[in-house]
Amino acid sequence: MTKPKRRDTSKVMKEFLSEAQELVESLSRNLLNIDSALKAGEPDPDMINEVFRGWHTLKGLASTFGAEALAKLAHEEENLLDEIRLGRIDLTADALDSLLESVETAIRALNAIDAAGDVNAVAPAGASEAAPAARGEARAAQPQIDIDLHEMVAPEVLEVLTEFEEHRLRTNLQQGRGVYRVRTRFALQSIDAELDAIKRRLKPLGEIITYLPSTESGDPDLLDIDVILVLNESLDALDTALEGLEAKREQIVAPRVQPRDTSQTLQPKPERGGAAAPKPAQPAGPLSSVPVLAEPRADALVSSRSREQGASLRSVSQSVRVDIGKLDRLMNVVGELNIIRTAIAKVSDELRTAMGRRDLAIELHRVTRGFERRLAEMREGILEVRMVPIGQMFDRLSRMTRKISRSLGKEVHLVIAGADTEVDKLIIEELSDPLMHIIRNSIDHGVEEPSERRDAGKPDVGTVALTAYQKGNHVLIEIEDDGAGIDGERIVASAVQRGFLTPEQAGSLSEREILSLVFLPGVTTAKEATELSGRGVGMDVVKTNISSLGGVVEVQSEIGIGTKFTITMPVTLAIIPALLVSVDGDTYAVPLNTVAEALILSPADVQSVMGAEVMTLRGKTLPLCRLDRFFGRPRVEPLPEISRVVVASLGQRRLGLIVDNLVGQQDVVIKSLGESLADAGCFTGATEIGDQRLSLVLDTVAIIEEFFAIGDEASRPLPVVG
C-alpha cells in the first residue's frame, strides 16, 4: 500500500503531532492513575480501556501519517493492553513499568519528529524486547462459571457490543451481578450535558457496559438511550440515583449474589495470580478507584460536563497548543508598545503645559489613558496564556518517582498538592530538571530502606510530598521527604575534604550554614555514589539553574524526621514590574518582587560595624550596600545629601541597597545582555525605559549573594550559599 507523503508540514501534520502529544500525556496520566488504583485494589476497567483506546488511536494516527516506528510501538502496546483489558494477562507493577517506559519512548519519538519535522526522524526501539506474555503475567486459570451470554442477554444488545464490552459483560455475569437497562430520553440539543449527568449518577453504582441509542420516540429532536448497567449496589440505590430523571429501569439479568451493601460474604472470590497488592473483598469491583461524587442535584446537571470526562481528554479539549516563542514575540511587542505609550504620554504632558491647544492636549491625554488600559489588558492576557498548571510537570515527576523507587527497591508514595498552581511555561520547562534532581536525591539519600524505616518506627512506604502554592508574586514549591534527614557531620566532612573550609571554620558554622553546604559542588552525604546520584550533576547545578531563573532554593532538615527543600520562583519571567532607581546619573531597574520597601536615608542613620555599613530598621540590623561602590565605579556626581535605601529581600536574607533617588515604577521587558556580557553577574539583562534610554536590570539574587560572600570573606573566608 502506498503511504502518504513522508514530509508533510501541512496543518494536518501539525494536527497529528499535537493530538499525538495530548494522547501520550493522557496515557501517562491514566497509567499513573491505574498505578495508584492498583495499590488500593483493582483499577477501574474503564481506565484500562481508556489506555487501550489511547494507544489504539495513536496507532491509527501514526500509521496514517507514516510514523512507522511510533505505529509499531503503539501496535505492541495496544496488543498488550488488549490482553490485559480482556483479562487474559494480569496487570502487575512490572507490566506497568514497561507500559510507562513505552510512554516515555513515545514522548521522545514525538519530540524528535517535532524537532526534525520528519515523521521518521526516529526509530524508537520496540516497547520491550520481551513478548507481551512476559511483560504481564499470564492470568492463572480462574474458577469460572460457564455462562452462555446468548441465553442471558437479548441479541439486540449483544450484536452491537465490541469485543471489550462483551468481555466486561461476561466477566460481571460470571460474578453473579445483575444487569439492567436504564432507558432515558434526551433532547438532542443538550445530550452531552444530560448524558454526563446520567453517567455521574450511575457510575458509582456499578459498571456501564454501553449506551444503545434508538429513535422509538418518533420525535427527531428526542433520542432514547438505553444505558446497559451492571449493578453492584442495591436496586434501591439505583432508584434513588434515578430520582427526578425521566428514566425507566428494566432488568436484563437477575443478580445471583446479593449486592455488596447487604452482604459481602456471598461474594465469590476468584483466585488471581501475580498481583502484588492486596485485593479488596470484590476483586473486579470497578468502584474501588472511582471517585465517589456527591449525589448530583438536578439543577447541577447542565453545567457539569467536564468532570467525568477528564479521563477522555480529547473529546472535550478546547485548548490550543502554542509555541512559546510566539508568545515571547507578542510579549516583546507589548514591551515596545509600552515604550511608545511612555513617549506619547510625554508628548501629551508637554502639550498640556504648552499654550494654545489645551483642548487637544486634554483629548490626547484621555485617549492615551484608554490606550494604557487596553495595553495593560493585553499584557495580562498574554501573561495568562503563558501560565500553565504546574501539574503538567508533576506527571513526569510521578513517572520518574515510580521508576527510581522501584529500581532502588524502596516503596515511595509521591503526594502531590497544588497541581493547579499556575506558573509561566518557561519556568516549568526550566524547573523540571532541578526538581527531578531533588526528588531523585530524596528517594536515593533521604528515604531509608524499608527495614531501616521499620526499625525507626516509620511505615515501610516512604513519602515524598510535592507541594506548590502561590505567595504574592512568587510560586513556592516544596519537596519534603520523611526520610533520614541530612547528616550534618557528613556534609561538613565532605566540604572540608573538598577544601571549601578548614576543620576550624567548620566548628563555627550554624545549622543553617551547614545544611546550605549541600549546594556546593561535589559535596555529598553519600559514602559512595550510587548509580543514580553519581551522575555528575549535583545540588550545585540545581541551585545555579534555579538562580538563573531568579529563584532561590533553601533546605531544612531534621535527623530522623526528614528533609524539606523549598524553591521560591517568580511567577513569570516575561515582563516584570520594576522599581527604577538612579545611581550616579544612571538609571537601574530593580525587580519589584525582590523589593520589600524603600526608605529615606539620612547620613546619621548609617552606622559602622566592623567596617561594614549597617542601619537599624525596626529594631533589626540591616546591612547596607552602596551600589556605586559595589559596581566598582568611581563616583562622578556629588553624593546627594539624602539618599534612598531600597530594601531587597529574598528568602530569609535582606540587604539595603543605597541609591541616589527613586525614579518610579514601570513594567519592563527584560532583554538578554547577549553572550559577550553573560558574565555580568549582577545584571539579569537590560530594558528600555522610554526616551530610547536603556537601563540595566539588577539581579538582586546575585547581588545579595555576592555581597554576603564578600562580607564574609573579610571576616571568615567561607563561601556562603543559601
Binding site: K3, V12, E15, R53, T64, F65, V160, L188, T210, R314
Partner: protein, 128 residues
C-alpha cells in the same frame, strides 16, 4: 452537485485527514463529529451522501451508530464506510452484518478513502 459527508472519529487529526482528502478531490461539504453522540445530534439536521465512522469510540461505538442509522426512516439507506484499525475479524464481520457498506482498514491513503466513499455512493459508477 455538491455532495456532503459526515466523518465520525474521536481523533481530530484523523477527521482532518479524511475531511482534507475528501475536500481536495470531491466537490463536497464535510461535517465532523468527535463522538457517536455528536453524530446522533447531526443526523437529523443533514442529509449525507455517506457517513464515514470509526468503530472504537467512547460511549457509543461504531456498531451502535450503524444500527441506529439503518433503523432510521430518513437516513436508513445512507452508505456507511467503517474506518478502523480494528484487527479483529469478529468486528469486521459484525460491522458488515449490521449494514456497513465498506470496511476500510487504517492506514489508508487519501485516494483510498475517496475511492471508498465514491464507490458506495448511490449511482457511484458514473461519477468521479
Amino acid at each position: 452537485m455538491t455532495s456532503s459527508y459526515l466523518v465520525v472519529d474521536d481523533s481530530r487529526a484523523m477527521r482532518a485527514y479524511v475531511a482534507g482528502a475528501l475536500r481536495s478531490s470531491l466537490d463536497c461539504r464535510v461535517d465532523e463529529a468527535s463522538s457517536g453522540f455528536e453524530a446522533l445530534r447531526l443526523f437529523p439536521r443533514g442529509t449525507y451522501d455517506a457517513v464515514i465512522a470509526d468503530i472504537n469510540m467512547p460511549d457509543i461505538n461504531g456498531f451502535e451508530l450503524i444500527r441506529h442509522l439503518r433503523a432510521s426512516e430518513r437516513q436508513g439507506g445512507v452508505p456507511i464506510v467503517i474506518i478502523s484499525t480494528q484487527t479483529s475479524k469478529r468486528d469486521v464481520e459484525r460491522a458488515l452484518e449490521l449494514g456497513a457498506n465498506l470496511f476500510l482498514r487504517k492506514p489508508f491513503t487519501p485516494e483510498e478513502i475517496v475511492r471508498a466513499v465514491t464507490s458506495c455512493r448511490p449511482g457511484a459508477e458514473a461519477s468521479s
